[in-house]
Amino acid sequence: TVGAVAVDCAGNVACATSTGGIRNKMVGRVGDSPVIGCGGYADNFSGAVSCTGHGESILKVTLARLVLLHIEQGKSVAKASQLSLQHMGDRVQGAGGVVVVSPSGQWAATFTTERMAWAAAEHDVLWFGINPNE
């Protein structure tokens, strides 16, 4: 799965997610990626999220919308991401990752799997990582 979130100079946010699914999946199986609020969501009120990980778990906790709910309740984008992924692990034993951006330009790349390749571009700075806590 791949995904992106962005905020433009007008404070508008957007997200996109795309996937080939899971290897050897049943014909017709659809995971979280194309489901609104699960594989991705964006709202200028709170931010934009793109998700990756175990699709059925992400669907069960509506992960993208859950991250934005925490932001709406006052959490930072990083804390909202951590809490949401922790909730998914606790409730349905699923692992995954998210990239998040707020309308003010705060961003986070958080995951509970072994690795997730991510990159963030802002101004003239490119941030990137693949291992936890990079």
């Binding site: 799965t1 791949v2 992106a4 905020v7 433009d8 100079c9 007008a10 508008n12 946010v13 957007a14 996109a16 997610t17 795309s18 699914g21 899971i22 290897r23 050897n24 999946k25 049943m26 014909v27 017709g28 199986r29 995971g31 979280d32 990626s33 194309p34 489901v35 609104i36 594989g39 991705g40 964006a42 200028n44 934009a48 990756t52 990980g53 175990h54 699709g55 059925e56 699923g94 692992a95 995954g96 990239v99 998040v100 951006v101 309308p103 330009g105 986070a108 509970t112 799997t113 072994e114 690795r115 997730m116 390749a117 991510w118 990159a119 963030a120 571009a121 802002e122 490119l126 990137f128």
Partner: protein, 168 residues
């Protein structure tokens, strides 16, 4: 207001031999998205461009690096959401489309619906001039080898679900 693009290339147990390719790919995609913003594009344009770059990179499980289902076919899913208007477009189980994210955006821009699936999504693609591509062009030799290996596993996909090796 700062313009920012953040991308991911999938969360899983990425093996060491693929790590550099994955990092290089997400860096290039993030830069692609930011260049769209710098050129006056919207956040929506930027995420589409960034995800297209990732779909075109066979290192990632999307577009040209897609996994195969149990029948050895490609079935792709994608979504795009505009935070300004809450407009959304999505496709699921679409076959042999190189850039499903752009097809998802077309669903958003050209129809009154949110999601098209399967044969309907492919028919819509054809109707707006998005041509399908051969399965072989979307599947890498690495994926063919992995698919062959995993289809002989005693455990099926359901048993592997939620393991570090098997997820989207």
């Amino acid at each position: 207001m700062p313009a920012v693009v953040v991308v991911h290339g999938g969360a899983w147990a990425i093996p060491d031999e693929r790590a550099k390719q994955c990092v290089d790919g997400v860096k290039a995609a993030a830069c692609q998205g930011l260049s769209v913003l710098r050129g006056g594009g919207s956040a929506l344009d930027a995420v589409e461009a960034a995800v297209r770059a990732l779909e075109d990179n066979p290192v990632f499980n999307a577009g040209h690096g897609a996994t195969l289902n149990i029948d050895g076919e490609v079935e792709l899913d994608a979504i795009i959401v505009d935070g300004k208007t809450l407009s959304c477009g999505a496709v699921s189980s679409v076959k042999n489309i190189a850039n499903p994210v752009t097809l998802a955006r077309a669903v958003m821009d050209k129809t009154s619906h949110v999601m098209l699936t399967g044969e309907g999504a492919n028919l819509f693609a054809e109707s707006i001039g998005v041509s399908s591509v051969p399965t072989d062009s979307l599947v890498t030799e690495y994926e063919k080898r992995e698919w062959e290996k995993h289809k002989h596993y005693v455990t099926g996909v359901m048993e592997n679900f939620n393991s570090k090796w098997a997820h989207d």
